[in-house]
């Protein structure tokens, strides 16, 4: 038997026990080397951050402590003292948005007003609004051009900006396994950036491509930071969470227009209270030819497109 064995393995044998010991040691060394970059993680959550409750279960005192903690984190990271608020939804208000495709010229000012207002990462670049350039006479979103440059509007083209549609039946909310995103009473789909686990199911579920993922921590200089921050809206997002348009909640719940409405040079962007029959948004829905993007998917958006020329 030993004769046979020798001929099988000319280099000799070692015991299984010795082999397992050596292999396990080498495997541990390889694992340790592979995991070594983890020692550079600086922003591990504190214990109270780790043990906190879901946003909807927070008491006012909890919220106050969390807002103070966020303010401190922003100050230490960016050197700016922010005013972090969490404005409650207003009674009798449901936000709606209308965009006049006949007037939009595709200048992308809304895109950058949004970036400036909402502390979006500059590099890697995150933008909530995509402006689609399409040929007049067709609505083929798939073949739309988003990278046009230079003078606008281009001949025979029209422009359709797309952002979060704040759906009444939001697929992203259904997809979220941890309830980190939900519809607020005023109709805005929000994300708790501290509750999001970064699985990106919501991004796959969204038919409008409206959600963005923070592959890296937002790169912002102190002068980029907008110190007026809302908990559910524009506070700086950590790495590994999803974000999207939230109708500038920190502005709109204070009665102001969103940043994209403020900046639009052609007045194509319209915002208001759907429950107020005299608001501009209600007037538009009553009197204009209104179009809903991907109506067939049944999301019932609060974002409408309309024509009047």
């Amino acid at each position: 038997m030993s004769e046979e064995q020798k001929s099988d393995s000319p280099g000799g044998d070692i015991s299984r026990r010795a082999f397992l010991a050596a292999a396990a040691t080498a495997a541990v060394a390889a694992t340790a080397a592979a995991l070594a970059p983890l020692k550079d993680i600086a922003d591990l959550p504190s214990l109270e951050e780790f043990l906190r409750k879901h946003y909807k279960e927070l008491t006012p005192a909890d919220k106050k402590a969390i807002l103070a903690r966020i303010a401190e984190q922003v100050k230490s990271k960016y050197g700016v003292t922010p005013n972090v608020t969490d404005l409650p939804p207003l009674d009798g208000v449901e936000f709606g948005y209308a965009l006049n495709i006949g007037r939009c010229v595709g200048c992308r000012k809304c895109v950058f007003a949004c970036v400036d207002e909402n502390n979006q990462s500059r590099n890697p670049e995150i933008q909530y609004i995509r402006v689609l350039e399409m040929k007049k006479g067709s609505i083929d979103v798939e073949s739309a051009n988003t990278t046009y440059e230079g003078e606008v509007p281009k001949k025979d083209s029209y422009y359709m900006p797309v952002q979060c549609h704040q759906c009444r039946k939001a697929p992203c909310v259904k997809a979220c396994p941890v309830e980190a995103t939900w519809v607020e009473p005023d109709g805005v789909v929000v994300i708790d950036y501290n509750w999001c686990i970064g699985c990106r199911y919501c991004m796959a579920a969204c038919p409008y491509g409206a959600r963005r993922f923070n592959f890296e921590e937002a790169q912002l200089t102190a002068e980029d930071v907008n110190p007026e921050m809302g908990y559910l809206s524009n506070r700086p997002r950590p790495k590994g969470v999803v974000e999207k348009c939230h109708f500038c909640l920190h502005r709109t719940r204070a009665g102001k227009y969103p940043a994209c409405v403020e900046v639009c040079p052609t007045g194509s962007r319209k915002f208001g209270n759907l429950l107020d029959p005299k608001s501009e948004i209600s007037t538009i829905l009553q009197t204009k030819r209104v179009y809903v993007l991907k109506e067939e998917v049944g999301t019932l958006p609060r974002f409408y497109y309309y024509f009047d020329i």
Binding site: R16, N123, G209
Partner: protein, 206 residues
């Protein structure tokens, strides 16, 4: 085979332990290297989100700083061919459809004002009433908020919206918007850029 199950051939043991050690070396010395560096994205210009209106609206009607009345004096209508009186308003380019005549809008007798159908003056402060003479549907929409820019507050309880007057966006002599320069296109991730058009065209999935 007849090999002793408690023994492992040395070459096999060395190969597997060596593979682990090689992996450890690859990770520890970062032999694979880092991800490609991020592209430089030029710093954003504040002009990209400048909320200024397309045009500036003047507070009063003047020409080169001088009031209209310094030339167009008094209440008498202007007479004769204006071209014989010197070069003044030649720079004005009129591309307002069929509306090609100065006094369709400007008041013949009070040149600092505009003219209603019956010749009665419309003040600069109420210039929307001049445009409403022809563009009634747009005036209606402007009043309701469906046309034109609104800034400030959507909430009437907080002060309500500030309307933007017609001529803050439209040049009355050339009301169609001139072409604008678009702010930069979204940056496309280098990893998706290989399939150039596919990566660029999918709004938001890069």
């Amino acid at each position: 085979m007849g090999a002793d199950p408690k023994k492992i051939p040395l070459w096999a043991a060395a190969a597997s332990v060596g593979a682990f050690l090689l992996l450890a070396a690859v990770f520890a010395l970062n032999l694979i290297g880092d991800a490609p560096p991020r592209d430089e994205i030029p710093k954003l210009s504040p002009a990209y989100w400048d909320p200024a209106t397309v045009r500036k609206v003047r507070k009063e009607m003047t020409f080169d700083g001088a009031p209209c009345s310094s030339c167009h004096e008094g209440v008498d209508a202007l007479q004769g061919d204006p071209k014989e009186k010197g070069v003044f308003h030649e720079a004005v380019e009129i591309k307002h459809g069929r509306n090609q005549h100065c006094f369709n809008c400007h008041n013949r007798k009070q040149p600092a004002d505009f003219s209603d159908f019956d010749g009665s003056p419309i003040k600069l402060a109420k210039v929307e009433m001049l445009c409403a003479k022809c563009h009634g549907t747009h005036y209606r929409d402007w009043l309701s908020g469906a046309h034109g820019r609104r800034t400030g507050h959507w909430d009437a309880a907080k002060g309500g919206p500030k309307q933007t007057v017609c001529i803050a966006c439209h040049n009355p002599h050339w009301p169609v918007f001139k072409a604008m320069t678009a702010a930069p296109a979204p940056h496309v991730n280098p990893r998706t850029r290989k399939s150039a058009s596919a990566g660029a065209d999918h709004g938001g999935h890069e």
